[in-house]
């Protein structure tokens, strides 16, 4: 039950993009078609899980005992950057079909603040390891859902008569605002 609530909360009530604003750059940049959105979302879920699984023990068993908590940022970003590189190399060799669909997005994920954000957030919230993993998975799913919704609307938007100055990013941002408003309604249910 606890995990169920955590899932619902991370996917809908505190959606990582639409309510917590993390990962807004890829949200705007890679939401032009559904296929791209799905690929990016899948890659984010994957890296988010791996990154949380790696950074949680590092923080709890290495940084905290020797009093180096303030190095959190630099250690986490290095772990994530090398993890992304490693995953890319591994997928290329071992699972070429998966690499075909996710490969292009992997390097972009290093600078996706959602991944680093989740890794830091689970530390600030003092989650246990299993809770952290569940939170990372749920946040990734939340990102994927938001990305798929907005990219399907933007595909429709391409043929819609939009005022010239609003074309492209401005209308996409307003769209995101309206989606965010819809997700805000979930807060009333919590």
């Amino acid at each position: 039950m606890e995990y169920f609530l955590l899932f619902i909360s991370a996917i809908f009530i505190n959606n990582i993009v639409l309510v917590q604003y993390l990962g807004a750059c890829p949200f705007m940049g890679t939401s032009k078609s559904i296929e791209v959105g799905l690929g990016m979302g899948g890659a984010v879920i994957f890296v988010m899980l791996m990154a949380t699984a790696l950074t949680w023990p590092i923080q709890q068993y290495v940084l905290n005992p020797i009093g180096l908590e303030y190095l959190q940022t630099i250690v986490f970003i290095l772990v994530i950057a090398s993890l992304v590189q490693f995953v890319e190399m591994f997928l290329k060799k071992a699972v070429p079909p998966l690499y075909q669909s996710l490969g292009l997005f992997l390097p972009l994920i290093t600078t996706n603040c959602a991944v680093l954000g989740v890794a830091i957030m689970v530390q600030r919230n003092d989650y246990s390891f299993m809770t952290s993993m569940a939170f990372a998975l749920a946040s990734g799913i939340g990102f994927l859902i938001a990305l798929v919704i907005i990219s399907s609307i933007r595909e429709r938007l391409d043929v819609a008569p939009v005022p010239r100055s609003m074309k492209g990013t401005p209308i996409a941002l307003i769209l995101a605002g309206l989606m965010s408003l819809a997700f805000f309604a979930f807060q009333g249910m919590a």
């Binding site: 639409l18 309510v19 917590q20 604003y21 993390l22 990962g23 807004a24 750059c25 890829p26 705007m28 940049g29 890679t30 939401s31 303030y70 190095l71 959190q72 940022t73 630099i74 970003i77 290095l78 950057a81 292009l104 390097p107 972009l108 290093t110 600078t111 996706n112 603040c113 680093l116 954000g117 830091i120 957030m121 600030r124 005022p163 010239r164 100055s165 609003m166 074309k167 492209g168 990013t169 401005p170 209308i171 996409a172 941002l173 307003i174 995101a176 605002g177 309206l178 965010s180 408003l181 805000f184």
Partner: protein, 224 residues
């Protein structure tokens, strides 16, 4: 001298982040619930940006091209840790307000983008000027966006009551949806202004620069 001025001025209008070049969207949306938060975030970014451009430009000939992105990230991350510690010591309330977005400066693509697109190719003085221009542009934009949202969302500006006393705060503006809508409207406004200026000078319509992640200069490097 002319060149220096040009590099400085481009950060204030033609390549004004984040309105012209959509870099660093997350802090832009998240911390602009009030003008002073926007200003504080902007100052932290100016510090990191100027220092990272300075360091990267100094050692640009030593960094091996293949691992340059990793080098940039390490330099930026060390600077961000410095900012974090400084803020904890001297501006703790602001640090708490900005919360998770202080460590997240490290993945702000504005900083990596400037390192990749400018500092790694240009001499030190130009890189500093470029960072100053971009940083100040970013700070002004964030303060402006924060000001608009604070004014309508809570009726104040820098904590001072501006609206009449019976003003009912439009809470939508300081919540997440307001951030997206407000930024979208500002971008549209910028497009209108640019179109008017261009018509007056009878320039050909320039290519729109708002391209989301595509406009981040480090993407080209990422995709290699």
């Amino acid at each position: 001298m002319n060149r220096i001025f040009k590099e400085f001025a481009k950060g204030l209008w033609t390549e004004l982040p984040p309105f012209r070049v959509l870099l660093g969207l997350c802090p832009t949306l998240a911390v602009t619930t009030s003008a002073s938060n926007g200003l504080g975030m902007g100052c932290a970014v100016i510090f990191v940006l100027v220092m990272s451009n300075l360091i990267i430009s100094t050692i640009r000939k030593i960094i091996p091209p293949k691992v340059r992105i990793a080098c940039f990230i390490v330099i930026t991350a060390s600077l961000v840790v410095t900012v974090e510690l400084l803020m904890q010591a001297y501006a703790y309330p602001l640090y708490q307000q900005l919360g998770i977005f202080v460590p997240l400066i490290v993945v702000n693509c504005l900083i990596l983008g400037r390192a990749e697109a400018f500092a790694s190719k240009n001499p030190i003085h130009l890189s500093i000027v470029d960072a100053l221009g971009m940083g100040i542009g970013f700070t002004l934009s964030l303060t402006f966006l924060g000001g608009v949202r604070e004014l309508f969302g809570s009726g104040t500006l820098f904590g001072q009551q501006i609206m009449w006393s019976a003003y009912e705060p439009f809470t939508f503006m300081i919540k997440a949806p307001g951030a997206f809508v407000c930024l979208g409207l500002i971008l549209a406004g910028m497009n209108v202004i640019t179109a008017i200026i261009n018509r007056r000078h009878e320039n050909p319509v320039p290519k729109q620069q708002n391209g989301g992640c595509d406009s981040c200069a480090s993407c080209g490097a990422c995709k290699q």
